[in-house]
Amino acid sequence: MALKNINYYELLEIYPAATQEEIENAFRAALYKYHPDHNPDRPEWAHERTAEVVEAYKVLSDPLRRKIYNFIIFANLKKTTKEYKFGLFQMGEKKKFEEAMQYFKEGVELYEQDDKGSALLKFQQAYGTYKFSEAIYNAGVIYIITNKLNDALFAFKEAQRLDPENQHYSKVLERLQELMREIDKARK
């Protein structure tokens, strides 16, 4: 799934709880609005918008794809980390952490440039350098986008282990497990 940083619900002007029929109606209305046939004076713009609308419809009209997409929106990438404090005798650790933070920042930047593959590498490097939950969590988010759900599950479990107090991690984990069960069911 090539996911651009566009919200498909916003693009089709519908609520996330929209029914299949509402999605279909919204798709057709959006086509009327954006299609190159109806916008002869700005073909490039119309082409791009229509391509996005078509992609949005493709994802949202397929119940399973839509669930994965909803999950991706829910399990948003962490752009910052919580505060980590280091004592006087942990200078070595602090240095490692700072190095890891550098990788983390680069990862976020790459993600925003839509280069998911390189971003994943950076988050893995960050986690390898210093075990902090945001790095492995972000790796998990990218695994979800690239459809590697088992790897994502492992990453979120690790994030939860590192930061058991974090409510978001437990919710993400819970929803992912539910999603995987549904996918299994659909496959059968």
């Binding site: 090539a2 279909e24 109606n25 057709r28 086509l31 009327y32 299609h35 190159p36 046939d37 109806h38 002869p40 082409h47 791009e48 229509t50 391509a51 996005e52 078509v54 992609e55 419809y57 493709k58 440039q113 839509d114 280069d115 593959g117 390189s118």
Partner: protein
């Protein structure tokens, strides 16, 4: 607002239409016929003939009469399908320097788009005469199963003919537009389009004014011509058995056989048997030999059953790709002359478990649909919209020659996908991307579209440059590749080397030259045609030797359509 006409540029016949005052008009040619044979000829006198006039003299001038040019549009000389056709075509075909197909006419070499352009120029001229104003824009239809090269070639043909091709649309989709179904109500329809040279099947979902193609499949090299060929082979064999003479090497005889075969086939759609008589088909020491035989519908069906049956596979693929069963289909629409054959109709009924819909004219539906689309683009029709799909997967060659898909077949178009590429060596200044269309796992087994070199990449360590490459398929089904440097956000320079087709300068030169080159020849052609017409009136049974019913009906139809024009002009 200038007029936009819709053109069905067919393998054997072309047809054109326009919507005026919310009414569809099929534009007749200068002889009053509603379709025009896609035939181009250069006579010994150096006259250029296009359409009916070219077809009429085909038997006498087979080497310099080009038909079925559509089969060669955007094709390589070495394509297997071209190889087969080489043996069948009485005109000369040679390879171009880039491996494309070229046609030799009276010693001069022409590209398939140029030949098609001659047909388009005639259509354009006839439309201008009929509408009484210049026509510069057109919507042209192509088989859904045309790849990027074939679509580009069609667009080039339009340009050479002086037409701005505002949109290329797929034939089955066009037929759906013209089918007259209310797009407001929800239904699923199949368009089964078996034309002279190509077979397409598309499944569409209608609703809320949108004609959404769900899947498409087909074969660009299967059509009425193949049915004709079976009859020709049969006649040759029968003649050989009886007389011991092989007609295969005789171009004039072959052309007469083709003509007779096509007529017999058409007549067998309504009759149970026809007599085929070709006098003086061969000359021996003992004197001239005549071919005389009776062909029954049963024999014809035996001869062609496997061809008709072979259309079932694309139908099943289309159903599967749309995620539907035959019982989900509400209507099946037949398009293309070959669907008039009872055998084809019964096979279609069997595949989709439904009697085909009778509401469309198989010869004119595609042109009518193109006219509808032209009207949408002009802004006159606002309540219908076409959403087509790409019939092929688009991808690139990756390590080990593996084909990596970027856009899946049956994706709605317009569509865009982007991929990020980087360098594999330090200070690498360019990255090569080879683009292919097809479904095979190895790139080499698919159709190569072109090579895209990302050039002028600033020196950096390997893996550092990040170039986003956008693969676009526009509403015409034509591919565009562009690139952006993600580090700088600037457009990345890209050198495009298409694997086939004409360069922009070639198209420009042909556009410039075609008018002057053929002006004189065309004038000669007009004169010749006038003589031809005169002869026809004088001797209405000019094609006596075939002597089949249907001829008279044709004459009547012709008269009627001429009458129609007068009526329209008066009104």
């Amino acid at each position: 607002m200038p007029k936009i006409i819709g053109i069905d540029l067919g393998t054997t016949n072309s047809c054109m239409g326009i919507i005026e005052d919310e009414r569809l008009i099929i534009i007749p040619n200068d002889e009053g016929f509603r379709t025009t044979p896609s035939v181009v000829a250069l006579t010994k006198e150096g006259a250029l003939l296009v359409g009916n006039a070219a077809k009429r003299q085909q038997i006498m001038n087979p080497e310099n009469t080009v038909f079925s040019i559509k089969r060669f549009m955007g094709r390589k000389f070495t394509d297997k399908v071209v190889e087969n056709d080489l043996k069948l075509m009485p005109y000369k075909i040679i390879p171009a320097p880039n491996g494309d197909v070229r046609i030799v006419l009276a010693g001069k070499v022409y590209s398939p788009p140029e030949i098609s352009a001659l047909i388009l120029m005639k259509l354009k001229k006839d439309a201008e005469r009929y509408l009484n104003e210049p026509v510069e824009k057109a919507v042209i239809t192509v088989p859904a199963y045309f790849n990027d090269s074939q679509r580009q070639a069609t667009k080039d043909a339009g340009k050479i003919a002086g037409l701005d091709v505002v949109r290329i649309i797929n034939e089955p989709t066009a037929a759906a537009l013209a089918s007259g179904f209310d797009s407001k109500s929800k239904m699923k329809i199949v368009i089964y389009d078996l034309g002279g040279g190509t077979f397409d099947v598309s499944i569409l979902k209608l609703g809320q004014g949108i004609f959404e193609v769900m899947s498409t499949s087909g074969d660009t090299h299967l059509g009425g011509d193949d049915f004709d060929q079976r009859i020709i082979d049969y006649l040759i064999e029968e003649f050989y058995k009886k007389e011991g003479i092989d007609l295969k090497g005789d171009r004039v005889a072959l052309q007469r056989l083709k003509d007779a075969a096509e007529k017999a086939k058409i007549n067998l759609s309504t009759l149970e048997a026809v007599e085929i008589t070709l006098q003086f088909i061969a000359v021996t020491k003992e004197g001239p030999k005549h071919l005389q035989t009776v062909l029954t519908r049963e024999t014809l069906e035996e001869l062609t059953k496997d061809i008709a049956e072979s259309t079932a596979i694309p139908c099943e693929i289309a159903l599967r790709d749309a995620g539907l069963k035959a019982s989900d289909i509400d209507e099946v629409v037949l398009v293309g002359g070959q669907t008039k054959m009872p055998l084809v109709r019964s096979i279609v009924s069997r595949i989709f478990k439904k009697t085909p819909y009778e509401g469309v004219n198989p010869d004119e539906a595609v042109a009518a649909g193109a006219a509808h689309q032209a009207s949408v683009l002009k802004g006159d029709i606002r309540d219908i919209l076409l959403l087509d799909v790409t019939a092929f997967s688009l991808g690139i060659k990756t390590e080990g020659g593996v084909f990596s898909k970027i856009i899946e077949k049956n994706s709605s178009i317009p569509t865009r996908r982007s991929e990020v590429y980087t360098t594999t060596k330090d200070n690498q200044s360019f990255v090569r991307i080879e683009v292919y269309q097809g479904e095979k796992p190895m790139a080499a087994d698919n159709k190569m579209i072109g090579t895209f070199d990302l050039v002028g990449i600033p020196p950096a360590k390997k893996g550092v440059p990040k170039i986003e490459v956008m693969f676009d398929i526009d509403a015409n089904g034509i591919i565009k590749v562009s690139a952006k440097d993600l580090m700088t956000g600037k457009e990345q320079a890209i050198q495009i080397t298409p694997d086939s087709g004409l360069s922009k300068s070639e198209v420009d030169r042909m556009t410039r030259d075609i008018g002057t080159e053929f002006a004189e020849k065309l004038a000669k052609g007009e004169k010749l045609k006038a003589q031809q017409d005169y002869k026809q009136v004088e001797q209405p049974a000019g094609e006596k030797d075939v002597g089949l019913p249907g001829q008279i009906a044709g004459e009547q139809k012709k008269k009627k359509s001429i009458f129609d024009i007068f009526k329209k002009k008066e009104g």
